[in-house]
């Protein structure tokens, strides 16, 4: 593991302000030429361990999400390869094998896409994806990602702050939780023919968890648009929780007063809690959570409390018995 202090970036790596402010416009126009110069200085592109940005090989659109990296959210760990991150997925909507989503997710149509925002909000509505992300600042965040099955990877997501997005819809005072739903459509998601999960896939967060600066809605990864198998076109990433909380292909966000039902908790409440914070001291009933296999490594490594994000999130849970609220 490389130790890096929070960097003072050399000026060559900081995106020129004019280019940055124009970025949304440039993205909408789909012009990548103007970004060429800025790209040269993009830290992500220079990341020694990341795969170089690949040419369009798996149906990814050419639209380039060359977003500035936010150095405050850069894991020190080596980034997983693009190959690993896009061929090893749990996305039962496309089959229950790890290789199935990569093989089968081509039937998903990530555009046009819209998200319904409803519940305890002042401004409910159905919003098209472009309109949803237009006002937002897209950032690259390099996060650790830890599955409940005890494997993990490090992914450079491109996304926007969930908290900022929710605030735009004016949560009412009754809003205490945020509920999310994935698409249900057996034509696009043939794995939904089997009821391994009670579709739609559902997840939820406490409002303060959703408002935490770490929580993002990801629309890209590795500088490109999200591949279908990774939850295109928009998914949640909450890096201090087990991966099943980071719901994919979101079609609905509901602000609620009560704790919403979540799919894995409905399936097996004794094994999958609502909070699902990464915690090496609280085992899954059937296997230990003390260690994890980082994809690409043979040996397992120790798991960190809150997946190493304790500094940012532990305060959300002071006084809570994390064995009881697992």
């Amino acid at each position: 593991m490389r130790k890096k202090d929070l960097p003072s970036l050399p000026s060559s790596e900081i995106t020129d302000e004019a280019v940055f402010l124009n970025r949304r416009e440039i993205l909408r126009l789909g012009t990548t030429a103007a970004l060429g110069a800025a790209l040269a200085g993009c830290p992500a592109a220079e990341e020694a361990d990341a795969e170089p940005v690949r040419p369009d090989t798996s149906g990814l659109r050419a639209l380039d999400f060359a977003s500035p990296e936010n150095p405050a959210y850069r894991a020190e760990d080596p980034v997983s390869s693009f190959e690993d991150a896009t061929t090893y997925n749990n996305f039962y909507e496309f089959g229950t094998g790890k290789r199935d989503p990569r093989k089968n997710a081509h039937t998903l149509r990530p555009e046009p896409w819209s998200v319904v925002i409803d519940g305890e909000v002042g401004k409910p509505g159905r919003v098209g994806l472009e309109e949803l992300i237009a006002p937002a600042v897209l950032e690259e965040r390099i996060y650790r990602f830890r599955c409940v099955e005890a494997w993990s990877m490090v992914v450079p997501w491109v996304g926007l702050s969930l908290g900022d997005l929710l605030r735009r819809f004016e949560p009412t005072r009754k809003a205490k939780y945020v509920a999310f739903e994935t698409l249900v459509d057996v034509e696009q998601m043939p794995g939904q023919r089997r009821r391994v999960i009670d579709w739609p896939y559902r997840e939820g967060l406490r409002l303060d968890e959703a408002m935490n600066p770490l929580s993002i809605l990801a629309v890209g990864m590795y500088g490109r648009v999200l591949p279908n198998q990774n939850g295109a076109p928009i998914r949640l990433v909450v890096p201090w929780k087990y991966g099943f909380k980071s719901i994919k292909s979101i079609v609905r966000i509901t602000l609620t007063e009560r704790q919403p039902p979540t799919s894995w908790n409905m399936l097996q409440p004794s094994e999958y809690g609502f909070y699902a914070n990464v915690n090496p001291e609280v085992s899954h009933p059937r296997w230990s959570q003390a260690r994890e296999r980082r994809l690409g490594n043979f040996r397992k490594q120790p798991t960190l409390p809150f997946n190493g994000y304790g500094e940012q999130v532990a305060s959300l849970y002071t006084g809570m018995d994390l064995r009881r609220f697992f």
């Binding site: 190959e83 690993d84 061929t87 090893y88 039962y92 099955e149 494997w151 059937r286 296999r293 690409g296």
Partner: protein
């Protein structure tokens, strides 16, 4: 076909899953989680060869396939071989040969307990699979080797207790095992009634 040829072909067949995985690693690379692939393939085929071994006697009885009888041991040993590889993968790569951690898992995680018990039985059966063992143990050999039924049940249980949500493969194996054991139960009753 000579008996030798039949055995040779069977041995080759039992090696195919291992060769297949090796070939895949050689051509496609290890992939994101080769240890998991290794664990799954060895576990799957340990159970499958065990079921195949248990299918020999019913095949003899119901289909008249006398020629299959010598393969019962071959298939059983293949099951043991894959089970040993499965155990080795887990204890070396998952637990780094940490004996304390291994013991803790065996005692605290029911699916590991079941798997370890199944392996212990298969080990005992493998060690006593030789002709000289059969001669030496006599009637006790038959009693000992009946434990293969328990090994099968424990292996299916081990698989069931691992599954997160997709129970289909475990159910299929369980149903096959139930069928193969059920068949024996049926003709045991018939033999008694006669």
């Amino acid at each position: 076909m000579t008996r030798f040829r039949l055995q040779a072909i069977t041995i080759v067949v039992t090696l195919l899953p291992a060769l297949g995985l090796g070939l895949r690693f050689a051509t496609e690379g290890p992939g994101p989680n080769p240890v998991e692939d290794l664990t799954h393939v060895t576990g799957e085929w340990a159970l499958r060869f065990l079921l195949l071994s248990l299918a020999v006697t019913p095949a003899r009885r119901f289909l008249g396939w006398q020629w299959a009888q010598p393969l019962r041991r071959t298939l059983g040993l293949a099951a043991f071989g894959y089970a040993a590889a499965h155990l080795a993968t887990w204890s070396i790569f998952d637990l780094g040969l940490d004996l304390e951690a291994i013991l803790a898992d065996v005692l605290e995680r029911p699916y590991v307990t079941a798997g370890m018990a199944a392996f212990a039985i298969l080990l005992a059966l493998a060690v006593t699979s030789t002709r000289s063992s059969i001669k030496r143990l006599g009637a006790r050999w038959v009693s000992l080797h009946r434990a293969v039924y328990a090994a099968g049940a424990l292996a299916v249980l081990h698989h069931f207790w691992l599954v997160k949500a997709d129970y289909r493969p475990a159910i299929v194996h369980g149903a096959l095992l139930a069928g193969l054991l059920g068949a024996r139960f049926v003709w045991m009753r018939r033999a008694r009634a006669a």
